[in-house]
Protein backbone atom coordinates (compact mmCIF):
# COMPACT_ATOMS: atom_id res chain seq x y z
CA UNK A 1 0.00 0.00 0.00
CA UNK A 2 1.43 3.35 -0.95
CA UNK A 3 0.76 6.71 0.65
CA UNK A 4 0.77 8.52 -2.68
CA UNK A 5 -2.40 10.55 -3.27
CA UNK A 6 -4.99 8.80 -5.41
CA UNK A 7 -6.47 10.07 -8.64
CA UNK A 8 -9.92 9.47 -10.05
CA UNK A 9 -10.53 8.46 -13.69
CA UNK A 10 -11.31 12.14 -14.38
CA UNK A 11 -8.04 13.62 -13.07
CA UNK A 12 -6.61 14.50 -16.49
CA UNK A 13 -9.92 16.11 -17.45
CA UNK A 14 -9.81 18.29 -14.33
CA UNK A 15 -6.35 19.49 -15.25
CA UNK A 16 -7.41 20.06 -18.86
CA UNK A 17 -10.36 22.16 -17.62
CA UNK A 18 -8.09 24.28 -15.43
CA UNK A 19 -9.02 22.67 -12.12
CA UNK A 20 -7.07 23.73 -9.03
CA UNK A 21 -6.05 20.37 -7.53
CA UNK A 22 -5.89 19.87 -3.76
CA UNK A 23 -5.68 16.85 -1.46
CA UNK A 24 -8.98 15.63 -0.08
CA UNK A 25 -9.07 12.45 2.03
CA UNK A 26 -5.96 11.24 0.21
CA UNK A 27 -7.32 12.01 -3.27
CA UNK A 28 -6.16 14.71 -5.69
CA UNK A 29 -9.39 16.57 -6.38
CA UNK A 30 -10.35 19.91 -7.96
CA UNK A 31 -11.42 22.44 -5.31
CA UNK A 32 -12.47 24.81 -8.08
CA UNK A 33 -12.06 25.60 -11.78
CA UNK A 34 -11.36 29.03 -13.36
CA UNK A 35 -15.02 30.02 -12.84
CA UNK A 36 -14.34 30.10 -9.10
CA UNK A 37 -16.27 28.72 -6.16
CA UNK A 38 -18.96 31.41 -6.16
CA UNK A 39 -19.50 31.17 -9.92
CA UNK A 40 -19.69 27.36 -9.79
CA UNK A 41 -22.11 27.51 -6.86
CA UNK A 42 -24.42 29.92 -8.71
CA UNK A 43 -24.11 27.84 -11.88
CA UNK A 44 -25.48 24.87 -9.94
CA UNK A 45 -28.42 26.80 -8.50
CA UNK A 46 -29.28 28.47 -11.81
CA UNK A 47 -28.33 25.94 -14.48
CA UNK A 48 -26.27 22.74 -13.97
CA UNK A 49 -22.91 21.75 -12.57
CA UNK A 50 -20.89 18.56 -12.98
CA UNK A 51 -18.97 17.27 -9.95
CA UNK A 52 -16.49 14.39 -9.85
CA UNK A 53 -17.26 12.41 -6.70
CA UNK A 54 -15.38 9.26 -7.70
CA UNK A 55 -13.37 9.43 -4.49
CA UNK A 56 -16.44 8.25 -2.58
CA UNK A 57 -16.74 4.53 -1.86
CA UNK A 58 -19.07 2.52 -4.10
CA UNK A 59 -19.98 -0.89 -2.70
CA UNK A 60 -22.03 -3.81 -4.05
CA UNK A 61 -23.77 -6.05 -1.51
CA UNK A 62 -24.85 -9.47 -2.82
CA UNK A 63 -26.76 -12.15 -1.00
CA UNK A 64 -30.08 -13.00 0.54
CA UNK A 65 -32.04 -10.49 2.61
CA UNK A 66 -29.41 -7.77 2.33
CA UNK A 67 -31.87 -5.08 3.41
CA UNK A 68 -32.80 -6.94 6.58
CA UNK A 69 -29.18 -7.60 7.40
CA UNK A 70 -28.32 -3.90 6.98
CA UNK A 71 -30.89 -3.16 9.69
CA UNK A 72 -28.51 -4.72 12.19
CA UNK A 73 -26.04 -1.87 11.65
CA UNK A 74 -28.28 0.98 10.41
CA UNK A 75 -31.41 2.48 12.03
CA UNK A 76 -33.13 2.69 8.64
CA UNK A 77 -35.95 0.46 7.37
CA UNK A 78 -33.79 -1.10 4.65
CA UNK A 79 -35.69 -4.42 4.75
CA UNK A 80 -38.63 -2.66 3.15
CA UNK A 81 -36.65 -0.49 0.72
CA UNK A 82 -38.28 -1.19 -2.65
CA UNK A 83 -36.35 -2.18 -5.73
CA UNK A 84 -35.31 0.90 -7.69
CA UNK A 85 -35.30 3.14 -4.61
CA UNK A 86 -32.50 4.79 -2.64
CA UNK A 87 -32.56 5.88 0.99
CA UNK A 88 -30.26 8.09 3.08
CA UNK A 89 -28.97 6.45 6.23
CA UNK A 90 -26.02 5.94 8.58
CA UNK A 91 -24.08 3.34 10.51
CA UNK A 92 -24.43 3.83 14.27
CA UNK A 93 -21.96 2.71 16.94
CA UNK A 94 -22.92 1.09 20.27
CA UNK A 95 -22.90 4.51 21.96
CA UNK A 96 -25.49 5.79 19.51
CA UNK A 97 -23.04 7.96 17.60
CA UNK A 98 -22.76 8.07 13.81
CA UNK A 99 -19.95 6.11 12.16
CA UNK A 100 -20.66 7.47 8.66
CA UNK A 101 -23.65 8.58 6.62
CA UNK A 102 -24.46 6.97 3.30
CA UNK A 103 -26.97 6.21 0.56
CA UNK A 104 -28.30 2.66 0.16
CA UNK A 105 -30.06 1.62 -3.06
CA UNK A 106 -32.02 -1.55 -3.78
CA UNK A 107 -30.81 -2.58 -7.24
CA UNK A 108 -32.85 -5.76 -7.47
CA UNK A 109 -30.26 -8.53 -7.56
CA UNK A 110 -27.94 -6.56 -5.26
CA UNK A 111 -27.78 -3.50 -3.05
CA UNK A 112 -25.61 -0.51 -3.99
CA UNK A 113 -24.09 1.62 -1.23
CA UNK A 114 -22.19 4.90 -1.50
CA UNK A 115 -20.10 6.01 1.49
CA UNK A 116 -17.86 8.99 2.25
CA UNK A 117 -14.32 8.97 0.87
CA UNK A 118 -12.97 9.80 4.31
CA UNK A 119 -14.57 6.75 5.93
CA UNK A 120 -14.28 4.07 3.24
CA UNK A 121 -11.48 2.38 5.14
CA UNK A 122 -13.83 1.92 8.10
CA UNK A 123 -17.13 1.25 6.33
CA UNK A 124 -16.16 -1.62 4.06
CA UNK A 125 -14.65 -3.76 6.85
CA UNK A 126 -17.62 -2.79 9.05
CA UNK A 127 -20.08 -4.16 6.51
CA UNK A 128 -17.94 -7.24 5.81
CA UNK A 129 -17.76 -8.05 9.52
CA UNK A 130 -21.44 -7.53 10.25
CA UNK A 131 -23.47 -8.60 7.21
CA UNK A 132 -23.61 -12.40 7.59
CA UNK A 133 -23.75 -14.26 4.31
CA UNK A 134 -23.47 -11.08 2.25
CA UNK A 135 -20.69 -10.55 -0.26
CA UNK A 136 -19.28 -7.04 0.26
CA UNK A 137 -17.60 -5.92 -2.96
CA UNK A 138 -15.83 -2.56 -3.02
CA UNK A 139 -15.78 -1.17 -6.57
CA UNK A 140 -12.51 0.24 -7.86
CA UNK A 141 -13.20 0.45 -11.59
CA UNK A 142 -16.07 2.92 -11.76
CA UNK A 143 -16.25 6.69 -11.61
CA UNK A 144 -19.08 8.56 -9.86
CA UNK A 145 -20.21 11.97 -11.09
CA UNK A 146 -22.97 14.28 -9.94
CA UNK A 147 -24.97 16.51 -12.30
CA UNK A 148 -26.91 18.98 -10.19
CA UNK A 149 -29.17 21.95 -10.90
CA UNK A 150 -32.48 22.90 -12.52
CA UNK A 151 -31.04 21.99 -15.96
CA UNK A 152 -29.71 18.62 -14.80
CA UNK A 153 -32.75 16.80 -16.18
CA UNK A 154 -32.04 18.19 -19.62
CA UNK A 155 -28.27 17.69 -19.39
CA UNK A 156 -28.69 14.00 -18.54
CA UNK A 157 -32.02 13.47 -20.30
CA UNK A 158 -30.59 14.56 -23.64
CA UNK A 159 -28.47 11.39 -23.60
CA UNK A 160 -30.73 9.20 -21.49
CA UNK A 161 -34.48 9.82 -21.94
CA UNK A 162 -35.34 7.44 -19.09
CA UNK A 163 -33.65 9.82 -16.66
CA UNK A 164 -36.35 12.43 -17.25
CA UNK A 165 -39.06 10.18 -15.82
CA UNK A 166 -37.19 9.42 -12.61
CA UNK A 167 -38.35 10.81 -9.30
CA UNK A 168 -36.21 11.91 -6.37
CA UNK A 169 -34.49 8.95 -4.67
CA UNK A 170 -35.08 6.54 -7.54
CA UNK A 171 -32.29 4.54 -9.16
CA UNK A 172 -32.07 2.82 -12.53
CA UNK A 173 -29.55 1.27 -14.88
CA UNK A 174 -29.66 2.89 -18.32
CA UNK A 175 -27.45 3.84 -21.22
CA UNK A 176 -25.91 7.28 -21.54
CA UNK A 177 -24.51 7.74 -25.03
CA UNK A 178 -24.63 3.97 -25.38
CA UNK A 179 -22.71 3.34 -22.14
CA UNK A 180 -24.47 1.45 -19.35
CA UNK A 181 -24.51 3.46 -16.11
CA UNK A 182 -26.32 3.42 -12.79
CA UNK A 183 -28.25 6.64 -12.45
CA UNK A 184 -29.78 7.83 -9.16
CA UNK A 185 -31.88 10.95 -8.85
CA UNK A 186 -30.39 12.47 -5.72
CA UNK A 187 -27.46 14.59 -4.62
CA UNK A 188 -25.78 16.79 -2.06
CA UNK A 189 -26.67 20.29 -3.22
CA UNK A 190 -30.37 20.79 -2.44
CA UNK A 191 -31.06 20.99 -6.20
CA UNK A 192 -32.63 18.43 -8.51
CA UNK A 193 -29.99 16.22 -10.05
CA UNK A 194 -28.38 12.85 -10.47
CA UNK A 195 -25.41 10.80 -9.31
CA UNK A 196 -24.11 8.53 -12.01
CA UNK A 197 -21.81 5.52 -11.72
CA UNK A 198 -19.81 5.00 -14.91
CA UNK A 199 -17.23 2.37 -15.96
CA UNK A 200 -13.85 4.07 -15.41
CA UNK A 201 -12.72 3.83 -19.04
CA UNK A 202 -15.86 5.65 -20.20
CA UNK A 203 -15.97 8.27 -17.46
CA UNK A 204 -14.33 11.05 -19.47
CA UNK A 205 -16.48 10.35 -22.51
CA UNK A 206 -19.75 10.50 -20.52
CA UNK A 207 -18.61 13.59 -18.60
CA UNK A 208 -17.82 15.36 -21.85
CA UNK A 209 -21.31 14.55 -23.13
CA UNK A 210 -22.73 16.39 -20.12
CA UNK A 211 -20.28 19.30 -20.42
CA UNK A 212 -21.24 19.72 -24.08
CA UNK A 213 -24.66 20.97 -22.92
CA UNK A 214 -24.73 24.80 -22.89
CA UNK A 215 -26.00 24.86 -19.31
CA UNK A 216 -23.46 22.48 -17.79
CA UNK A 217 -20.11 23.60 -16.31
CA UNK A 218 -17.63 21.70 -14.13
CA UNK A 219 -17.67 22.48 -10.40
CA UNK A 220 -15.26 21.49 -7.64
CA UNK A 221 -15.33 20.52 -3.99
CA UNK A 222 -15.39 24.14 -2.84
CA UNK A 223 -18.77 24.76 -4.45
CA UNK A 224 -19.97 21.33 -3.33
CA UNK A 225 -19.36 22.40 0.26
CA UNK A 226 -21.04 25.81 -0.01
CA UNK A 227 -24.02 24.23 -1.79
CA UNK A 228 -24.60 21.52 0.82
CA UNK A 229 -24.15 24.03 3.65
CA UNK A 230 -26.85 26.32 2.25
CA UNK A 231 -29.02 23.20 1.82
CA UNK A 232 -28.57 22.35 5.51
CA UNK A 233 -26.96 18.97 4.75
CA UNK A 234 -24.49 17.43 7.20
CA UNK A 235 -20.85 16.81 6.39
CA UNK A 236 -19.35 13.80 8.15
CA UNK A 237 -16.40 14.88 10.25
CA UNK A 238 -17.84 18.36 10.74
CA UNK A 239 -21.53 18.19 11.69
CA UNK A 240 -21.73 14.49 12.50
CA UNK A 241 -19.17 12.11 13.93
CA UNK A 242 -18.73 9.13 16.24
CA UNK A 243 -19.92 11.15 19.23
CA UNK A 244 -23.04 12.75 17.75
CA UNK A 245 -26.34 10.89 17.77
CA UNK A 246 -28.80 11.19 14.87
CA UNK A 247 -31.26 12.90 17.24
CA UNK A 248 -28.70 15.54 18.22
CA UNK A 249 -27.91 16.01 14.52
CA UNK A 250 -31.58 16.68 13.70
CA UNK A 251 -31.61 13.48 11.60
CA UNK A 252 -34.55 11.88 13.39
CA UNK A 253 -36.47 12.09 10.08
CA UNK A 254 -33.99 9.58 8.59
CA UNK A 255 -34.97 6.88 11.11
CA UNK A 256 -38.20 5.31 9.94
CA UNK A 257 -41.05 4.85 12.45
CA UNK A 258 -40.81 1.07 12.74
CA UNK A 259 -37.11 1.30 13.64
CA UNK A 260 -37.76 3.99 16.25
CA UNK A 261 -40.30 1.68 17.89
CA UNK A 262 -38.46 -1.64 17.56
CA UNK A 263 -34.80 -0.63 17.90
CA UNK A 264 -32.44 -3.46 16.99
CA UNK A 265 -29.52 -1.31 15.84
CA UNK A 266 -26.37 -0.18 17.67
CA UNK A 267 -27.01 2.65 20.11
CA UNK A 268 -30.79 2.14 20.08
CA UNK A 269 -31.02 2.72 23.85
CA UNK A 270 -29.55 6.22 23.69
CA UNK A 271 -31.46 7.08 20.55
CA UNK A 272 -34.80 5.94 22.01
CA UNK A 273 -34.12 7.88 25.19
CA UNK A 274 -33.29 11.03 23.23
CA UNK A 275 -36.45 10.61 21.15
CA UNK A 276 -38.44 10.47 24.36
CA UNK A 277 -36.66 13.10 26.48
CA UNK A 278 -34.86 15.29 23.96
CA UNK A 279 -31.11 15.27 23.34
CA UNK A 280 -28.48 17.20 25.29
CA UNK A 281 -27.75 19.35 22.24
CA UNK A 282 -29.08 19.86 18.75
CA UNK A 283 -27.83 20.91 15.34
CA UNK A 284 -29.27 24.20 14.14
CA UNK A 285 -28.75 26.81 11.46
CA UNK A 286 -26.96 30.01 12.45
CA UNK A 287 -26.95 33.24 10.48
CA UNK A 288 -24.31 35.80 11.43
CA UNK A 289 -25.73 39.31 11.25
CA UNK A 290 -22.60 40.87 9.79
CA UNK A 291 -20.40 39.79 6.93
CA UNK A 292 -17.73 37.89 8.82
CA UNK A 293 -17.97 34.15 8.20
CA UNK A 294 -18.12 31.96 11.32
CA UNK A 295 -16.24 28.73 10.73
CA UNK A 296 -15.90 25.34 12.41
CA UNK A 297 -14.86 25.67 16.06
CA UNK A 298 -16.32 29.13 16.71
CA UNK A 299 -17.91 29.37 20.16
CA UNK A 300 -21.62 30.19 20.41
CA UNK A 301 -22.80 32.20 23.42
CA UNK A 302 -26.37 32.95 24.41
CA UNK A 303 -27.47 36.55 24.90
CA UNK A 304 -26.52 36.32 28.62
CA UNK A 305 -22.94 35.45 27.72
CA UNK A 306 -22.91 31.73 28.58
CA UNK A 307 -21.31 29.23 26.21
CA UNK A 308 -24.10 27.19 24.66
CA UNK A 309 -22.38 25.49 21.78
CA UNK A 310 -20.03 25.52 18.82
CA UNK A 311 -20.12 25.97 15.05
CA UNK A 312 -19.45 22.74 13.14
CA UNK A 313 -19.69 24.06 9.58
CA UNK A 314 -19.61 27.62 8.35
CA UNK A 315 -18.63 29.81 5.47
CA UNK A 316 -20.03 32.18 2.94
CA UNK A 317 -23.28 31.27 1.15
CA UNK A 318 -23.16 32.69 -2.41
CA UNK A 319 -26.92 32.25 -2.99
CA UNK A 320 -27.82 33.73 0.40
CA UNK A 321 -25.22 36.44 -0.24
CA UNK A 322 -24.09 36.30 3.38
CA UNK A 323 -22.30 34.03 5.87
CA UNK A 324 -24.15 30.84 6.89
CA UNK A 325 -23.32 28.23 9.49
CA UNK A 326 -24.50 25.12 11.31
CA UNK A 327 -23.64 24.18 14.86
CA UNK A 328 -24.78 22.54 18.06
CA UNK A 329 -26.49 24.38 20.89
CA UNK A 330 -27.43 22.90 24.24
CA UNK A 331 -30.93 21.84 25.22
CA UNK A 332 -33.12 24.80 26.03
CA UNK A 333 -31.65 26.84 23.20
CA UNK A 334 -31.89 26.77 19.45
CA UNK A 335 -35.37 28.00 18.68
CA UNK A 336 -35.40 29.87 15.36
CA UNK A 337 -35.14 33.58 16.10
CA UNK A 338 -32.98 33.16 19.22
CA UNK A 339 -30.23 35.80 19.25
CA UNK A 340 -26.76 34.52 20.00
CA UNK A 341 -23.19 35.78 19.85
CA UNK A 342 -20.37 34.12 17.94
CA UNK A 343 -16.87 34.61 19.31
CA UNK A 344 -14.77 35.26 16.20
CA UNK A 345 -11.14 36.25 16.80
CA UNK A 346 -11.96 37.19 20.38
CA UNK A 347 -14.89 39.46 19.54
CA UNK A 348 -18.60 38.78 20.03
CA UNK A 349 -20.40 38.97 16.69
CA UNK A 350 -24.21 38.92 16.78
CA UNK A 351 -26.08 36.12 15.01
CA UNK A 352 -29.48 34.47 14.95
CA UNK A 353 -30.63 30.83 15.07
CA UNK A 354 -32.54 30.02 11.89
CA UNK A 355 -34.40 26.99 10.56
CA UNK A 356 -32.59 24.90 7.96
CA UNK A 357 -32.22 24.91 5.00
CA UNK A 358 -30.99 28.40 4.17
CA UNK A 359 -32.07 27.89 0.55
CA UNK A 360 -35.22 26.05 -0.51
CA UNK A 361 -34.75 22.47 -1.73
CA UNK A 362 -35.83 21.67 -5.29
CA UNK A 363 -36.17 17.88 -5.37
CA UNK A 364 -38.30 16.27 -8.08
CA UNK A 365 -40.86 14.52 -5.89
Amino acid sequence: MTDAPKRTPLYDLHVELGGKIVDFAGWEMPVQYPMGIMGEHKQCREKAALFDVSHMGQVILKGDNVGEKLEAICPQAYATLKEGKARYGFFTNPEGGIMDDLIVSNAGDHFFVVVNASMRHQDIPHMAANLDGVEVIEIFDRALVAVQGPSAEDVVGTHCPAARDMKFMETIVAEIGGIECRISRLGYTGEDGYEISIPEDKAVEVSKLFLAHDDCEPAGLGARDSLRLEAGLCLYGNDIDQSTSPIEASLSWAIQKRRKEEGGFPGADRIKKELADGAAKKLVGIKPEGRAPARQGVEIQCAEGNTIGEITSGGFGPTVGAPVAMGYVSKGHGAPGEKVNLIIRGKAQPAEIVALPFVQQNYKR
Binding site: V31, Q32, G36, I37, M38, G222, S226, R291, A292, P293, R295, G315, F316, P318, P323, R345
Partner: protein
Protein backbone atom coordinates in the same frame (compact mmCIF):
# COMPACT_ATOMS: atom_id res chain seq x y z
CA UNK B 1 7.33 57.42 -4.93
CA UNK B 2 8.60 53.84 -4.71
CA UNK B 3 6.78 50.57 -4.33
CA UNK B 4 8.21 47.74 -2.24
CA UNK B 5 7.04 44.18 -1.81
CA UNK B 6 7.08 41.79 1.14
CA UNK B 7 7.44 38.03 1.22
CA UNK B 8 3.90 37.94 2.60
CA UNK B 9 2.68 39.32 -0.74
CA UNK B 10 1.95 42.87 0.34
CA UNK B 11 2.88 45.97 -1.60
CA UNK B 12 3.74 49.27 0.00
CA UNK B 13 4.07 52.51 -1.93
CA UNK B 14 6.13 55.11 -0.07
CA UNK B 15 6.18 58.88 -0.41
CA UNK B 16 8.27 60.49 2.30
CA UNK B 17 7.31 58.79 5.57
CA UNK B 18 3.73 58.04 4.52
CA UNK B 19 2.85 54.83 2.71
CA UNK B 20 -0.10 53.03 1.16
CA UNK B 21 -0.37 49.29 1.79
CA UNK B 22 -2.29 46.49 0.14
CA UNK B 23 -2.02 42.90 -1.02
CA UNK B 24 -0.67 41.92 -4.43
CA UNK B 25 -2.73 40.50 -7.28
CA UNK B 26 -0.86 37.24 -6.76
CA UNK B 27 -2.03 37.12 -3.13
CA UNK B 28 -5.60 37.94 -4.16
CA UNK B 29 -5.55 35.18 -6.77
CA UNK B 30 -4.24 32.67 -4.21
CA UNK B 31 -6.93 33.65 -1.69
CA UNK B 32 -9.79 33.18 -4.10
CA UNK B 33 -12.98 35.21 -3.89
CA UNK B 34 -12.80 37.59 -0.93
CA UNK B 35 -16.03 37.88 1.06
CA UNK B 36 -14.92 39.91 4.06
CA UNK B 37 -12.02 41.93 5.43
CA UNK B 38 -11.43 42.74 9.08
CA UNK B 39 -9.39 45.89 9.37
CA UNK B 40 -7.69 47.74 12.25
CA UNK B 41 -8.58 51.35 13.07
CA UNK B 42 -6.91 54.69 12.41
CA UNK B 43 -4.29 55.50 15.07
CA UNK B 44 -3.59 51.83 15.78
CA UNK B 45 0.17 51.26 16.06
CA UNK B 46 1.94 48.11 15.02
CA UNK B 47 5.32 46.50 14.64
CA UNK B 48 6.76 44.45 11.80
CA UNK B 49 5.21 40.97 11.98
CA UNK B 50 2.05 42.01 13.86
CA UNK B 51 -1.26 40.86 12.52
CA UNK B 52 -2.98 43.94 11.10
CA UNK B 53 -6.04 42.44 9.49
CA UNK B 54 -7.80 39.30 8.31
CA UNK B 55 -9.11 38.57 4.85
CA UNK B 56 -11.84 35.95 4.55
CA UNK B 57 -12.27 34.19 1.25
CA UNK B 58 -15.02 31.67 0.50
CA UNK B 59 -12.88 28.83 1.84
CA UNK B 60 -10.62 30.24 4.53
CA UNK B 61 -9.33 33.16 6.58
CA UNK B 62 -5.85 34.65 5.99
CA UNK B 63 -4.03 37.09 8.25
CA UNK B 64 -2.32 40.22 6.94
CA UNK B 65 1.04 40.78 8.68
CA UNK B 66 2.72 44.17 8.96
CA UNK B 67 5.83 44.30 6.71
CA UNK B 68 7.33 47.04 8.91
CA UNK B 69 6.63 49.22 11.97
CA UNK B 70 4.04 51.95 11.64
CA UNK B 71 0.79 53.65 12.59
CA UNK B 72 -2.45 53.51 10.66
CA UNK B 73 -3.43 56.93 9.36
CA UNK B 74 -6.37 55.96 7.16
CA UNK B 75 -8.45 52.82 6.62
CA UNK B 76 -10.02 52.13 3.23
CA UNK B 77 -13.67 52.05 4.33
CA UNK B 78 -14.90 51.11 0.83
CA UNK B 79 -13.70 47.53 1.28
CA UNK B 80 -16.35 46.69 3.88
CA UNK B 81 -19.17 46.92 1.34
CA UNK B 82 -17.18 45.67 -1.62
CA UNK B 83 -14.79 42.93 -0.46
CA UNK B 84 -14.64 41.52 -4.00
CA UNK B 85 -12.72 44.64 -5.05
CA UNK B 86 -9.72 42.99 -3.36
CA UNK B 87 -9.76 40.46 -6.19
CA UNK B 88 -10.38 43.01 -8.93
CA UNK B 89 -7.99 45.84 -8.03
CA UNK B 90 -5.89 44.88 -5.01
CA UNK B 91 -2.98 47.00 -6.26
CA UNK B 92 -5.16 50.04 -6.99
CA UNK B 93 -8.54 51.04 -5.58
CA UNK B 94 -8.58 48.22 -3.05
CA UNK B 95 -5.62 49.51 -0.99
CA UNK B 96 -6.10 48.55 2.65
CA UNK B 97 -4.36 51.22 4.79
CA UNK B 98 -2.48 54.47 4.56
CA UNK B 99 0.23 54.31 7.20
CA UNK B 100 2.91 56.47 8.78
CA UNK B 101 6.23 54.64 8.78
CA UNK B 102 8.17 54.80 12.02
CA UNK B 103 11.28 52.88 10.97
CA UNK B 104 12.37 53.74 7.43
CA UNK B 105 15.41 51.40 7.66
CA UNK B 106 13.04 48.44 7.41
CA UNK B 107 12.39 49.31 3.76
CA UNK B 108 15.80 47.82 2.97
CA UNK B 109 14.47 44.37 3.93
CA UNK B 110 11.71 44.56 1.34
CA UNK B 111 11.92 43.66 -2.35
CA UNK B 112 11.53 45.73 -5.47
CA UNK B 113 9.24 44.64 -8.30
CA UNK B 114 11.91 42.49 -9.97
CA UNK B 115 12.67 40.79 -6.68
CA UNK B 116 8.99 40.10 -6.08
CA UNK B 117 8.47 38.77 -9.60
CA UNK B 118 11.36 36.38 -9.00
CA UNK B 119 9.75 35.27 -5.73
CA UNK B 120 6.43 34.38 -7.30
CA UNK B 121 8.12 32.79 -10.32
Amino acid sequence: MTTYYSEEHEWITVEGDVATLGITQHAADQLGEVVFIEQKEAEDEFEKGDEIGVIESVKAASEIYAPLDGEIVEVNEALADAPASLNESPEGDAWIYKIKLTNMDQLEDLMDLDGYKALIG
